[in-house]
Subunit: 450 residues, 2 copies
């Protein structure tokens, strides 16, 4: 196996994690990476901070450049190379490069790491200038340049997920007047609305105009430039629009090649990151994974998952044996001073799954009450009635609040009960926590309802 | 049971947690608390910050005063009442109060929550003025007053455990010249020396003079006032001395009453917090608990454990049924800007227990490298060879580093392997973590050695 050729489509988190791992294990392996854009191994998650001006140097977001991979890792990275078709029988990929479309390359093993792209519904005006999704490093650079060159005044963010909210904050930092349209009752619908309301308030506090429970309908444009965003209730002037309605897996290539898909049209893979088609693997934002609590297929696009899956694919492609066990739905973000985290299942998901659950929310402090900097923290905890099993948690609070979600992510993975959580020997000192950690205070209250 | 009389010896974390719980469940229960000092329910852990001037108001360290307990909880709290003997047969306690020693009170159930006191070896000069241990609120007030009234210049801290180090920092904040004597190779011997060295350096960085691998021998005094601290290598001038050689359980009362003791002369209790003597219970810093990893008796004096044990005792004393499952050895502290945390077993303990283990240490960042405020973090992880079982962790780092220990404490409790730790779905966003959380980066490196 060590002599056959590996082709990787996509040079970001999953693709380059795999390529690097293979190179470390197989120094002589023929590894070809085909990347559509000019960049490799960049932190897409860091782009809102670059656009907002918190990070000055775009290069700091690039972990390793194409030249580094070529020179130091002897990995044949070809940027500006877009794969336009996969032939799984002939084991070749067809490539578009510099206007030419007659190039193809053979593979023995193929890894699809094509990522995801921002969702934009097919509405009038969707092609106008000034409408941006944020996914590639190039898209981040384009947004920053657009702001610098066009000095837009009014920004509209369509959708209140993580990227939408982080971008709303970034645009406020750049002194734009920012409006945000959200279909749901509150922003961030990966939280239950009672917790999302705390995040909505954090956005209002920095001056974002929220239009909640409002449906996005169309863009208005003049001379191909966006002018306004139309909802079912109003028309908002817009010099720049950010798409924050989530992402969709880039799975069209795989689908066209007859590779089996899963939920949300993400590519179906097993826990080794193998697709259902021989010699073709996939990893990162383009694949579906498994939710460890439900055992069901689950789609999530996160840099950390993509990195891990890339490493797993790379391990298996270089003669090792590694599994990706799935996720428990952990995510974290910082919106202004407010930290937001979630893991496990939220109420909506539990209702769909017919769980008999109870939820409890407590408001307490991140540190001992008397210690300087003790900030607010709200913890919502959900458990199963009867069994007492822990099912999920959501945290909104000030500095130090969010990383506590990892305690719950770990406890969920171990299938702990709420009582088990109360029994944990968690760390305490006044600069870090009240004497009962907030997650244990929430657990004590929840236990009474189970 | 709800009509019999409960007497509690000690009015701090364990005692008042128990009393409060009993009151909530049994509104009419006769509860008598006998407290030697003038204070109840205070945060001993907060006192170094009061002495250092980070917290101005000593009252902020008191969660509930004796008057609050009497007036709002109808708990008969008697301060200045020192129990001098327990008669387990007659079920009475003998009390000293205002010079009288002829008082006694009957109990149906007795809870011993006498705490711990700073250890001071029986050396020449130990009784001199200016030598302080830090345990009760009164002792914290005395130290602060002593500094204000006597304006000491030279401070010597004897012993480099948590309290010793927190006090060294507090005294530096009060502009004293601070020396610290430590028998071990590095401060904080609940860490392995390689990690302790990072904490030693943090102390040097704020100007503490460290005398490591040095044996404390005696105090010198003039007119009953301490003048110097003598070690096996030198004599250090001292206007004030802080005892930081750890604490010993206050178990003499229990021992004299024939109540069975455990390791380090701490009172032996079962997981319900019952002593081996009928109708007598104990909780908090005066009892031994169980280490959940070894199953062996273990002594630790921590506010969070005392609070939890008090709640357990109170639950069982009010007709409920609750267990304290033990600890995994978690502790955390902040020394200047450096956060320090540990859990599980350290190398010394593992050698004593004949574990076949491997350890790995990684140095990385608390946040994404490009994100403002990304600080250093060093994570040491220990696992069992063969089984791959996680055994312990130590963390030293800048803001945001220490609370990660809770991930490991949770994983240890669930008896996870190092691979299980790598597989966890931990939270990631640039303000909180690199894309691989530092504990998972350490786990990946450790795995290669197991």
């Amino acid at each position: 196996m060590s002599k056959d050729r590996i082709v990787i489509i996509g040079g970001d988190a999953a693709g380059m994690s795999a390529a690097s791992k293979i190179r470390r294990v197989n120094p002589d392996r023929d590894i070809l990476v085909l990347e559509k854009t000019a960049h490799t191994s960049y932190s897409a998650c860091g782009m809102p901070y670059y656009i907002g001006g918190l990070i000055d140097d775009i290069d700091s977001l690039v972990a390793r450049s194409p030249a580094t991979f070529r020179d130091k890792y002897a990995i044949d990275v070809r940027t500006g190379h877009e794969v336009v078709a996969i032939d799984p029988i002939a084991q070749r990929v067809m490539i578009r490069h510099n206007g030419r479309a007659d190039i193809s390359e053979a593979f023995d093993q193929l890894l699809i790491a094509t990522g995801a792209c921002p969702y934009c519904p097919d509405v009038p005006g969707a092609g106008a200038d000034g409408i941006f999704g944020l996914s590639t490093l190039a898209s981040g650079i384009r947004i920053k340049e657009f702001i610098e060159q066009n000095k837009p005044k009014n920004a509209v963010v369509v959708g209140g997920g993580y990227i939408g909210l982080e971008m709303a904050e970034a645009l406020v930092r750049q002194n734009l007047k920012v409006s945000l349209i959200q279909l749901g009752r509150e922003v961030m619908d990966t939280l239950d609305p009672d917790m999302g309301a705390l995040v909505s308030q954090a956005l209002r506090d920095i001056g974002v105009n929220l239009y909640l429970s409002e449906e996005f309908e169309a863009f208005e444009s003049t001379n191909g430039k966006v002018q306004a965003v139309v909802t079912n209730q109003r028309t908002l002037p817009a010099d720049i629009v950010i798409l924050g309605m989530g992402v969709r897996p880039n799975s069209k290539l795989a689908e066209a090649a007859g590779i089996e898909l899963s939920v949300k049209n993400a590519i179906k893979v097993d826990d080794r990151m193998r697709t259902a088609t021989a010699n073709i693997w996939a990893a990162g934002d383009c694949v579906a994974t498994v939710h460890r609590l439900t055992g069901q297929p689950f789609y999530v696009a996160l840099g950390t998952v993509a990195n891990k899956q890339g490493l797993i694919a790379g391990t298996n492609l270089s003669g090792g044996d590694a599994c990706f066990p799935g996720v428990v739905g952990t995510a974290v973000s910082k919106i202004c001073k407010v930290e937001v985290a979630r893991t496990g299942l939220q109420e909506k998901e539990l209702q769909n799954l017919d769980f008999d659950y109870a939820a409890e929310t407590v408001k307490t402090r991140t540190r001992a009450g008397y210690y300087p900097g003790a900030g607010r923290i709200t913890v919502k905890l959900i458990g199963e009635k009867g069994s007492g099993r822990l099912l999920g948690a959501q945290i909104v609070g000030m500095e130090g609040a969010a990383k506590r979600i990892d305690i719950i992510a770990t406890a969920l993975t171990a299938r702990m009960t709420v009582t088990d959580l109360i029994d944990l020997d968690l760390s305490y000192a006044p600069p870090f926590s009240p004497v009962w950690d907030p997650v244990q205070t929430a657990a004590r209250q929840l236990l009474k309802k189970l």
